[in-house]
């Protein structure tokens, strides 16, 4: 399969008064064409910063230190701000978590969808209007002609997220980065929105990176999953492999701490302790203090991110044997 995006040894650090936060600390991954890649992990794991780094939306005190972001073979890290703005919103688009705040309250829906059409296409006024109507229809907004002149406050949360998706899809992007797109929505609406996004991705043949904390959601719609912990990818593989044959103790801990609808467990398995302070990360493996399989070696030696089996990457000295 052809790789659309390849990230090599990406490091994004934040230089604060208290010290350096290694928010993204040497991640390697790729996205194939037409694929949905899920990035999961707990808050503070560096999921969102990874997403922002890909389109270089990192502001001071944050900085992309080293690494390559190869998008269709071109290294985005070397691109200037001006070159980036031609890519943002056209080839790579982003969908944010909160549909209440990612739309501008003082512009109509039409003005907001039109903006990217004006910037990135040569359509005339009439064609743009037709495209707007078509987009709203695609994302399932009833009565699109009349809704175009509405303002965001006249839409419900689920409808607003549909509008955001319409804006994202306006110029047929190649890669969509969706950062917790349905976290603010109810389950029935979440199901509708994610289904819609998957259908549109498959229809247009673009790729998507879905960033979320909800393992069940990625399990249902993603093709491959990266599990992140403290700025590093600890495990990466196909969905079925992660869900059934995960090797990293953190992945397994995460999966086991979700209450299951089918199983009746009296107690939930937990991961001991809390996420370490990002200023004082452990010397060896970041997960060492919380790991229930830790050995002496893990305390001082950082595990290498390696290919465990074909297409299954892991950074752990002692991968767990057996199925989940």
């Amino acid at each position: 399969m052809e790789k659309l995006l390849e990230v090599k040894n990406l490091k994004t650090y934040f230089h604060t008064f208290k010290g350096v936060v290694k928010a993204v600390d040497g991640v390697d991954f790729y996205v194939n064409k037409g694929e949905i890649l899920g990035i999961v992990g707990e808050s503070g794991g560096g999921k969102s910063i990874t997403g922002f780094s890909l389109i270089k939306l990192i502001e001071s005190p944050g900085k992309i230190e080293t690494g390559e972001i190869l998008f269709e073979g071109n290294d985005l890290v070397k691109y200037s701000e001006r070159e980036m703005s031609k890519i943002r919103g056209k080839d790579i688009v982003m969908i944010f978590q909160d549909p209440m705040t990612s739309l501008n309250p003082v512009y109509t829906i039409k003005q907001q969808i039109e903006e990217s059409l004006i910037l990135h296409t040569n359509l005339n006024k009439k064609e743009r209007h037709e495209r707007c109507v078509e987009l709203l229809k695609d994302v399932g907004i009833p009565n699109p002609e009349n809704r175009l002149t509405n303002y965001p406050h006249q839409f419900s949360g689920g409808m607003r997220q549909r509008v955001v998706i319409a804006i994202a899809l306006a110029v047929n992007p190649k890669l969509i980065i969706a950062d917790e797109p349905t976290t603010a929505l109810d389950v029935t609406i979440q199901a509708q929105i994610l289904k819609l996004m998957t259908e549109l991705v498959k229809k247009q043949g673009c790729s998507m990176i879905l960033i979320t904390h909800d393992l069940a959601v990625v399990s249902e719609i993603a093709d491959r999953i990266n599990v992140m912990y403290c700025g590093k990818i600890v495990e990466s593989s196909k969905v079925s492999t992660i869900m059934n044959h995960c090797k990293h103790p953190y992945t397994r801990g995460l999966l086991n701490s979700i209450p299951d609808i089918k199983d009746n467990k009296d107690r939930l398995e937990t991961i001991d302790g809390i996420v370490p302070n990002m200023f004082k990360l452990p010397k060896g493996c970041n997960f060492y203090p919380r790991c229930n399989k830790r050995m002496e070696e893990c305390e001082n030696k950082e595990p290498e991110y390696r290919e465990y089996k074909e297409g299954h990457y892991i950074s752990c000295h002692y991968p767990i044997e057996g199925e989940r």
Partner: protein, 337 residues
């Protein structure tokens, strides 16, 4: 049966039009007086047995939180009755309510907002103890506070820190400790784990279950996450637009859901290693406005199985199997057969 909390036909409205002038509207050439209100809770009845976990589940805006807050009289109910341990607390004054306050405590959703940032943890826990005079001296109150902090897993040397020095999960533990400080009998937990990460969420849920066993507590638990609800509850009430549409034991609701809305909720839930959410057929439309309530069944416009009768008559609650109540016209016929 010994109910710790018995709620009958509870109603809560929030008036939108305050003042006489605001309520006037000009319609068809006439000046008419109109009152608008958000009907947040529309006739909710449920009862919680001692030592039981009763959960209210539903989507945002369905009145779960308002129900909880009205039950403990943070809001005054507009209609209905609330009995706590057999005593009617519906219309008693704030002063009379005080003696019940220590027996009903609340855990809030946001561990960042529910603790005073300028109070040390020990003071946060001691304040209710001193206020309700559960301790004779400051020393005694402090001892009690230490004991309760230990129960939730906060070490004594951490007690003199401020809330900002704790992580989200630890803060929620402090919130739980504050609720437990008064040795309550009923705890109202409003989305206590929804702001936490899954691994921390599991720790807090385990803690809440352990404390329930140890102290023989009852919970009124509110959440939107069905898998959490399934894990913690004995009985469940599914809410839609200010009404409970279905109640039953946890097994019954999850294995044998009857109301179309409950079914939709369960179908939409994403599952590990499943295609539940992807296969979800979807509900029509959106949640109706709680200002202009539909005439018949509140769910009828979105229901895939709605009948004619649903659009003009409000369904009555009926028992389908033992302790399993549903408000839906679909099951009326079967009753008469």
């Amino acid at each position: 049966m010994n109910f710790i909390l018995d709620v009958k036909n509870l109603e809560k409205r929030f008036e939108l039009t305050s003042g006489f002038l605001n309520s006037l509207t000009f319609k068809n050439g006439k000046l008419t007086k109109e009152k608008k209100a958000v009907h947040a809770v529309n006739g909710v009845s449920f009862a919680i047995k001692k030592g039981e976990v009763f959960s209210l589940v539903g989507e945002s805006g369905c009145g779960k939180s308002t129900t909880a807050r009205t039950v403990i009289k943070l809001y005054e109910p507009n209609n209905g009755e609330i009995f706590f341990e057999g005593n009617d607390i519906t219309n008693i004054s704030r002063k009379e309510m005080l003696k019940y306050r220590s027996k009903i405590q609340m855990i809030f959703q946001d561990p960042y907002a529910s603790l005073n940032p300028r109070q040390k943890v020990i003071d946060i826990i001691m304040e209710p103890i001193l206020f309700h005079k559960l301790a004779n001296s400051k020393q005694e109150a402090e001892q009690k506070a230490f004991a309760v902090l230990e129960k939730v897993g906060i070490r004594p040397e951490q007690a003199y820190r401020f809330p900002h020095q704790f992580s989200g999960g630890q803060r929620q533990r402090i919130g739980i400790a504050r609720a437990l400080a008064l040795e309550p009998e009923l705890i109202v937990a409003d989305e206590p784990v929804s702001a936490l990460d899954v691994s921390i969420q599991a720790q807090i849920l385990n803690l809440m279950m352990d404390l329930k066993e140890e102290l023989n507590l009852s919970y009124l638990f509110i959440a939107h996450d069905l898998s959490v609800i399934k894990h913690i509850s004995d009985r469940i009430g599914v809410m839609y637009l200010g009404k409970i549409v279905e109640t039953g034991t946890t097994e019954e609701i999850f294995s044998n859901p009857k109301h179309p809305y409950t079914k939709a909720l369960l179908e939409a839930l994403p599952k590990i290693n499943g295609k539940n959410m992807v296969d979800f057929k979807g509900l029509k439309g959106e949640v109706q406005s709680p200002i202009n309530l539909p005439k018949g069944c509140y769910f009828c416009d979105r229901c895939n199985e709605s009948l004619d009768i649903c659009h003009h008559t409000i369904p009555v609650e009926q028992e389908i199997t033992k302790d399993h109540y549903v408000s839906c016209h679909l099951y009326k016929g079967k009753d008469n057969e």
